[in-house]
């Protein structure tokens, strides 16, 4: 059946058993790509003509921001799938995506602020991108909070999915904010539709870092989701068998 894969994808047990075999490869892949990308970026790329060596924070900051935004879509889409098809696994993925997204947003804001000091002369500025990034953090925190205050799991999942979906409006605003209200944050240097304004010597290590963060995100999401599966499926016999065997 053509839809069989989709239903299997919704099975927590299938996900748990499948990902057990993926984990070592994911860890090895993430680590090696990140180490190469980061060392290349920090030590083997030329200095930025305007910003000096502080620009090297880009190899930490920009991929974190990319994943903070992409992770929001992951959370919202998982929530939507859970609402529409009433599947268990997507809601677990949605809940797991919230703390990861929040942490990546904090990382983006923290490294951005450190980068801002030598570059803009201030740790914080009420720049449009900064403000909408802060709103993103509050959206993630809102989902985490809603999960913990709702008395029923079903209600919490639905409320979080709705909040996550409403908040998606924020993501394209963050993406376009540097063009719409240009103040301090530099505009994007990597573009999909026209030629990028970043030099290829800086582009390739940055690309590696973005790939590494994507792998990292997948890894963290799988780990949190596996915990959530054991938590929510605790009464099933396969989870109890698994606990006794491990």
């Amino acid at each position: 059946m053509a839809w069989q894969w989709f239903h299997r994808l919704g099975s927590p047990r299938w996900f748990y058993e499948k990902t057990s075999r993926w984990l070592p490869w994911l860890i090895a892949g993430t680590l090696s790509v990140w180490v190469i990308g980061l060392i290349w970026g920090l030590a083997f790329t030329p200095m930025d003509a305007k910003q000096g060596n502080s620009y090297r924070i880009i190899y930490i900051h920009m991929p974190a921001a990319v994943l903070a935004l992409a992770g929001y879509y992951v959370m919202a889409i998982a929530g939507a799938v859970g609402l529409i098809w009433r599947m268990k696994l997507p809601f677990m993925v949605m809940k797991s995506a919230a703390p990861i997204g929040a942490a990546l947003t904090v990382l983006t804001l923290a490294t951005g602020s450190i980068w801002g000091y030598p570059t803009w002369g201030t740790f914080w500025e009420w720049d449009a991108r900064n403000i909408f990034m802060l709103i993103l953090l509050f959206l993630y925190l809102g989902v985490i909070l809603l999960q913990s205050v709702y008395p029923s799991r079903d209600g919490a999942d639905k409320a979080c999915a709705v909040l996550a979906l409403v908040g998606t409006v924020n993501v394209p605003i963050i993406y376009k904010s540097v063009d719409w209200w240009y103040s301090l944050h530099q505009p994007a240097t990597i573009k999909f539709t026209e030629s990028s304004s970043i030099h290829s010597s800086m582009f390739y290590p940055l690309l590696l870092c973005v790939v590494a963060y994507y792998c990292f995100y997948t890894l963290a999401l799988i780990l949190y989701t596996r915990h959530e599966i054991l938590l929510r499926e605790a009464r099933t016999s396969w989870v109890q068998d698994h606990a006794l065997r491990s």
Binding site: S96, A110, H227, A243
Partner: protein
């Protein structure tokens, strides 16, 4: 092949005065990303332990019942 852009290791660490910003960013990234791996693993471990305990308890109850 790109070459090392600093004259010495010391130069690499100092980054002409910007080292403190770059290296503190790297440190924060390591802490936050590391936490995102360690935290779910700890939760997972605790949950397995709890499931084992619960299984032991139910086994104890059922053996008591049979007496």
């Amino acid at each position: 092949m790109p070459d090392f852009k600093f004259t010495s290791l010391n130069d690499f660490l100092l980054m002409s005065g910007h080292g403190i910003y770059v290296w503190s960013s790297v440190a924060i990234a390591l802490v936050i990303l590391g936490a995102l791996i360690v935290h779910p693993l700890l939760l997972h471990k605790r949950q397995i332990k709890q499931l084992k305990k619960r299984a032991a308890q139910t086994r104890a109850v059922t053996t008591n019942d049979s007496h």
